[in-house]
């Protein structure tokens, strides 16, 4: 197996050297950068499995490197761990919001550093495996169960190449299929693309609030603003926050909740 590649971005020489030695002894292939600019240049030509990044650097902050990594990766991105002497909660939160995987506060022990890296690599591996096998749907608290029936209060762990997070079922606005993939639109305008068919979604979503309205779309009825009958006899459904209405079959209009108003335009 190839060695895992690590980029250490640290301006303090003794810390940088000590981290390098610890990781090399554990079989990692280590590359070092002293400044943010040097790190970004290295990232333009090489790929890494892990980036260990200090926040206070001589030229820019470590956040600029993290921004670059998040913005430039289209596929699975490396594990990003902030290693900093700043224990300020705001810094930690900023990092997490940017997409950082973990935060190690200096002074750390060898164990702390290695444990954090191993935990984050294992998480990444698990995500990758789940995405490859199309089993990314895991209700929180369930041991297994891609086909377990869910209720509106259940959280799903959704992860694609860009982001990963727990999403409350009730906050899924709609799901649109695209061949073997489906796009999941969430209340806060987040979006995930997963390798999962519309049919398998239908098997797990609660029927009380989710309805398949045409061949390629499932909607959450709680987000329906109105339904319009158009001059040509077709029906269109408008969802809260969606830029375009969806075509809805005549047969499905009948299934809509009685309180959803259908008007002619």
């Amino acid at each position: 197996m190839d060695k895992r590649k690590v980029l250490i971005v640290e301006d303090d020489k003794s810390t940088r050297e000590a981290m390098t030695e610890i990781l090399e002894l554990e079989g990692y292939a280590v590359q070092k950068a002293v400044t943010a600019r040097e790190a970004i240049d290295t990232l333009l030509t090489q790929s890494f499995d892990i980036i260990l990044c200090d926040l206070v650097l001589p030229d820019l902050t470590g956040f600029s490197i993290i921004d670059h990594v998040i913005a430039s990766h289209v596929g699975p991105r490396p594990v990003i761990i902030i290693v900093s002497g700043l224990d300020d909660r705001d810094n930690m939160r900023n990092g997490m919001e940017l997409g950082v995987d973990d935060y190690v506060t200096k002074p750390f022990t060898r164990n702390e550093l290695l444990k954090t890296i191993k935990t984050q690599l294992a998480k990444k591996e698990q995500l990758k495996e789940e995405m490859e096998h199309g089993s990314e749907l895991k209700p929180q608290g369930a041991v297994t169960g891609t086909q377990r029936a869910l209720n509106r209060e259940t959280f799903l762990f959704l992860a694609d190449s860009r982001s990963a997070s727990f999403v409350k079922i009730a906050e899924i606005k709609c799901i649109i299929s695209d061949n073997n993939y489906s796009k999941i639109f969430i209340k806060d305008n987040k979006r995930f693309i997963l390798k999962k068919s519309l049919r398998s979604w239908l098997g797990v979503l609660p029927k009380s609030i989710f309805l398949r309205i045409n061949k390629s779309t499932i909607i959450n009825l709680n987000f329906v603003l109105r339904v319009e009958e158009w001059f040509n006899g077709s029906y269109m459904v408008y969802l809260d926050g969606a830029s375009e209405p969806f075509n809805i079959s005549t047969r499905t209009v009948i299934k809509l909740r009685k309180d959803i108003f259908v008007r002619k335009v």
């Binding site: 610890i22 206070v56 930690m92 939160r93 550093l113």
Partner: protein
């Protein structure tokens, strides 16, 4: 407006002076906080170099089984940990006096917290002293601020170790009742009998029996402030067979 009108209103002049003084005080307080932040950061970085280098040295096969090397490595690690705790407390006091400590709840496993505490206590422990953990609850995931809980426990364990001397015996006991974690840190030190325990929780507060031991009177103030932030309770009680117990309860989900 002429000078004369100023002299005619001494109250206004006084108010002006007060406002300048207030501005100056705010400025100085900001400078102090900034200085503490910069110093904390700049101290922690070389501490990492010292700590990790000592660990690497102890792992070198050439020195395997060398008791002297192990002793000195342990001493370096213990000193670094104490210094780190001191830096952390100074920084926490600054944040506490500015209401700057923030709470961030997340889900965590009790075993992860205990593992972290054991490692930290192991580093603080001097030669001849002992530390043990007794778990009276099963492994489970809870939601709370693991990092702040860990900070309080680190302070209580450090106190237990420091005030129980070279042959100190410190014990951490964890129980869980409904939605509350209850930690008891007991030691065999001089105890708190006859002490004004409220004074010990004040900033720079020191007890009579703790006068000989090292301590700046920051730890318990920080621990008590964090406990308040977590909605918990912290108290010190004298053990029947000597020593003291710090009982720290904190609600979790």
């Amino acid at each position: 407006m002429g000078e004369g009108s100023k002299n005619n209103d001494p109250g206004r002049e006084k108010r002006g002076d007060e406002s300048v003084l207030l501005e100056r005080a705010i400025e100085l307080s900001g400078l102090k906080s900034r200085l503490i932040t910069v110093l904390s950061h700049d101290l922690r970085t070389p501490l990492t170099g010292i700590l990790t280098s000592a660990e690497i040295m102890s792992l070198n096969p050439r020195f395997e089984g060398d008791p002297a090397l192990m002793k000195y490595t342990k001493r370096i690690m213990q000193s670094v940990k104490s210094l780190d705790l001191m830096v952390k407390n100074v920084s926490a006091v600054d944040k506490a006096t500015r209401s700057g400590i923030k709470r961030h709840d997340q889900k965590f496993y009790l075993s992860d917290l205990i593992e972290e505490i054991n490692e930290s206590a192991g580093m603080l422990l001097p030669e001849g002293a002992s530390f043990r953990t007794i778990l009276l609850t099963q492994e489970r995931a809870v939601t709370g601020d693991k990092s702040l809980i860990s900070d309080v426990l680190e302070i209580l364990i450090d106190n237990g170790i420091r005030f129980s001397g070279e042959k100190g015996e410190v014990e951490l006991r964890l129980e869980m009742h409904e939605h509350e974690l209850k930690f008891t840190v007991s030691d065999n030190g001089s105890g708190v009998a006859g002490e004004d325990t409220e004074e010990l929780f004040r900033l720079f507060g020191k007890g009579k029996s703790t006068g000989h031991a090292q301590g700046a009177g920051l730890g318990l103030y920080v621990a008590s402030h964090i406990t308040g932030l977590l909605g918990g309770e912290l108290k010190l009680v004298q053990n029947e067979d000597g020593g003291c117990s710090a009982i720290f309860s904190v609600p979790v989900l």
